[in-house]
Amino acid sequence: MSEDDDQTEAIAARVRDAAAAGTPVAIRGGGSKPFYGHRLDGEALDVSRHRGVLNYEPTELMLTARAGTPLVELEELLAANGQMFAFEPPHFGGGATLGGAVATGLSGPRRPFAGALRDHLLGVRIVDGNGSVGRFGGEVIKNVAGYDVSRLTVGALGTLGVVLEVSVKVLPRPETERTVCLEMAPEEIHGRIEDALRNGAPITGAAHDGDRAWIRLAGATSAVTAGADWLGGDTPTDETFWSRLRDHTMDFFRGDTAEPLWRLSLPPGGRSPDLPGKRVVDWGGQLHWLRSDASAEGIRRETAAIGGHATVFRGGDAATAVFTPLEPALARFHGRLKRAFDPHGVLNPGRMYPEF
């Protein structure tokens, strides 16, 4: 890490100039998730040079790094100390950065069992739309001083501030990890893993690839063995399943299909949305990846009917809202928050919702 790695001043100056001129910027980290959210027109603001680990104390279960630091580097560092990000952030490409993980707020297969990125976030340092640098949250696990601005930046797609630094809680890596495959329908997964959890099985993944269910156990060897015995099923030979699911490198996610990829986020233990198309299920049934040519309206109506929401994850057309539209009162609060953080409307305007 050199002094060049600290781009705070340069980034803040760029935002101040943009605010003065009223010209939007399009924030870019590793460039691994440009498909997510609405297309942006602004001038590129590259934060990938703002990088480096600032503080990592394994015995405090805490890591602070600059936003441009690649996830791969951080995960190697954590692994060398027997630790990990428990929320299993997707990479979707080699260059994925910590700042990008926060801005998109996405978490991997472990999410229902270990919490999301937002659950492990301890603090952030951001540049707001005035070019002013602020620090919110901190480096300690319990902290309720002031409004929770750090979690507000999670999944905000850079619309509230440019993330400069991130502090996250990290956890020990499990002693043992094992996967079993079971012949069952996606709708049966919830009940089966609930029974297993109540019998002490340390489940950290529960997915369905269209043919069969994949259940991952991780933790103390004794608990993993007992849990796997309790679940039964076969031990698969494919050890890359979870990373291919996490990073969308499975065949289902690739290919040149014209159908958009929908992400349906659902309540636990409900019925599956009745929609045409092929799907891969994750999160014990609470996350459906759907390839479908059904209308956006139809998909959203059916998903909402069972208490969920639907996102056009990849391949949508420009006319379709990427995220489920907000009800009027919530939209009003979103607009006001956007103006509070970015009064000139220069930070990734429209990437999340066209209105702001």
Partner: protein, 499 residues
């Protein structure tokens, strides 16, 4: 005890015509839902932070959501402050009434609306007590994880408003990690739900924003909380140390070895003695510090972890390690820790509970400096500590009937909080800022950061009527506090210079 009103003149500049407010509320609420007489309002003048007292203008205790909205509409139309209150157990004065305002009690919203054991969630009204959720869930082998020490009395609405913690946070999280959605009434008349039963929600994470917002963004009407399966097995170890620093290093040793205990608590010598005298838990009263470590999981896993923790604690310099032989002994190991606050109440007429968090590595130094400060202020202090997550609870011992001691206790407490910030920590881990730590917010956050907080406040409460004067200090308050600070050199409170 001296009673003080902590409101700044900035926070009490509302033009309120009391008769008009009461007249409108009378029209909107049944008679039994309105408390106007001074003698009856007295019952609401304090919350769990009894050093502060303030009579509200009037108390409203609605039965229905429509009545809550009517109260908020009245306050909105007439420009009247409104302070929501659950069980009134806040340790930071979060529910302290406003002198010009309505105190809005949610006590009658005390129903568990739905408990779904298959989907492991409970839909509850805000006045439901924390422990009542776990009691109702117990029949299904489930429980609600956050367990603040006031859990027998505190309400879930208050828990969300303060983002309450407890002794199992390192493994099971704070309130924000265990709530799926919250329905709020806004001062502008909306009813909105933030979060959902799905694992994420479109838009900004307003659910997280509401946690710890101290009643300043909306009034909580309902929440859905996540329930967890009761662990199959639990074990508790108790280890004694001849210094707090050694105990702190032992905690680091456990974490470094990959252990994440369900609970990991520390008590210092004075706390051990006070607790032992009170509940006779069998604690080693000659120890400078003890650690109480709870492990949970499958039977084999807990047996294996217990052996590892036992060995690690001994390697770290524990003078004694006890493993509970049965459920009774496990309960006894916990009993002293859980009774630490009342135990402090037995050895001192009054005590003042602080709530800072520090990176754990500074524990030894911080405890030494707290002891030094205690001597400077002429006050005793006992320390209990959520060791796993760095959350300190120094209990400052004082006598409110001795003139000047409350002021000394407050000054001492303020210095502890500043020390936490200096060490890279925070002024509040789980009790909230309220009125208690509002000055110290000027130290932890700069003007621009506090302006961000005010901007968020204005987004949800443009007229600034919800719990004004709490949590986020105004520029004027910080300017005055800063002048006091800088003017007299390094010490926070000028009156201390004589010591």
């Amino acid at each position: 005890m001296t009673a003080t009103t902590p409101y700044h003149t900035d926070d009490t500049a509302f033009a309120v015509q009391a008769p008009r407010v009461i007249e409108r509320l009378r029209a909107a609420l049944p008679e039994r839902s309105l408390v106007v007489e001074e003698a009856e309002r007295r019952a609401y003048e304090s919350d769990g932070l009894s050093a502060f007292r303030q009579l509200p203008l009037v108390v409203a205790i609605p039965d229905t959501i429509e009545q809550v909205q009517a109260v908020l509409a009245t306050c909105h139309d007439l420009g009247v402050p409104v302070v929501a209150r659950g069980s009134g157990t806040s340790l930071s004065g979060g529910a302290l009434p406003h002198p010009q305002g309505v105190l809005l009690s949610l006590a009658r919203f005390n129903q568990i609306l739905e408990l779904d054991p298959e989907r492991r969630l409970a839909r509850v009204q805000p006045g439901v007590r924390n422990l009542a959720i776990s009691e109702a869930a117990a029949a299904h082998g489930l429980y609600y994880a956050p367990d603040p020490s006031s859990q027998i009395a505190c309400s879930i609405g208050g828990n969300i408003a303060e983002n309450a913690g407890g002794v199992h946070c390192l493994k099971y999280g704070l309130t924000v990690h265990n709530v799926l959605d919250v329905t709020l009434a806004t001062i502008e008349g909306d009813i909105v739900t933030v979060g959902s039963q799905a694992l994420d929600t479109p838009g900004y994470d307003l659910l997280a924003l509401m946690h710890g917002s101290e009643g300043m963004l909306g009034v909580i009407l309902e929440a859905t909380v996540r329930l967890l399966p009761e662990p199959l097995t639990k074990q508790v170890l108790l280890a004694a140390f001849d210094s707090a620093a050694t105990a702190g290093n032992a905690v680091a040793g456990l974490i470094a070895a990959g252990i994440v205990p369900a609970g990991l608590e520390m008590m210092d010598g004075p706390a051990i003695k006070a607790a032992e005298d009170f509940v006779h838990a069998g604690y080693p009263t000659d120890a400078a510090a003890i650690l109480i470590c709870e492990l949970d999981g499958g039977t084999e896993e807990v047996v294996a972890d217990t052996a590892r923790v036992d060995a690690l604690l001994r390697d770290s310099g524990a003078t004694e390690v006890r493993v509970a032989r049965d459920a009774d002994e496990r309960a006894r190991f916990w009993a002293g820790r859980k009774a630490a606050f009342p135990a402090a109440g037995r050895i001192s007429p009054d005590y003042y509970c602080m709530d800072g968090t520090i990176p754990r590595k500074h524990l030894g130094e911080v405890l030494t400096r707290i002891a030094d400060m205690g001597r400077e202020h002429g006050l005793g202090v006992v320390n209990v500590f959520h060791a796993g997550d760095g959350n300190l609870h120094p209990l400052i011992l004082y006598d409110g009937n001795t003139p000047g001691e409350l002021e000394q206790a407050e000054a001492f407490g303020a210095r502890i909080l500043e020390l936490c910030v200096e060490k890279g920590g925070t002024i509040t881990g789980e009790h909230g800022v309220g009125v208690e730590k509002i000055n110290e917010m000027c130290i932890q956050f700069n003007d621009a950061e506090r302006e961000t907080f005010f901007a968020i406040k204005r987004a949800f409460d443009p007229p600034g009527l919800l719990n004004p004067g709490k949590a986020i200090p105004t520029l004027n308050r910080c300017a005055e506090f800063g002048a006091m600070h800088v003017h007299h050199g390094e010490v926070a409170h000028p009156e201390l210079e004589r010591y």
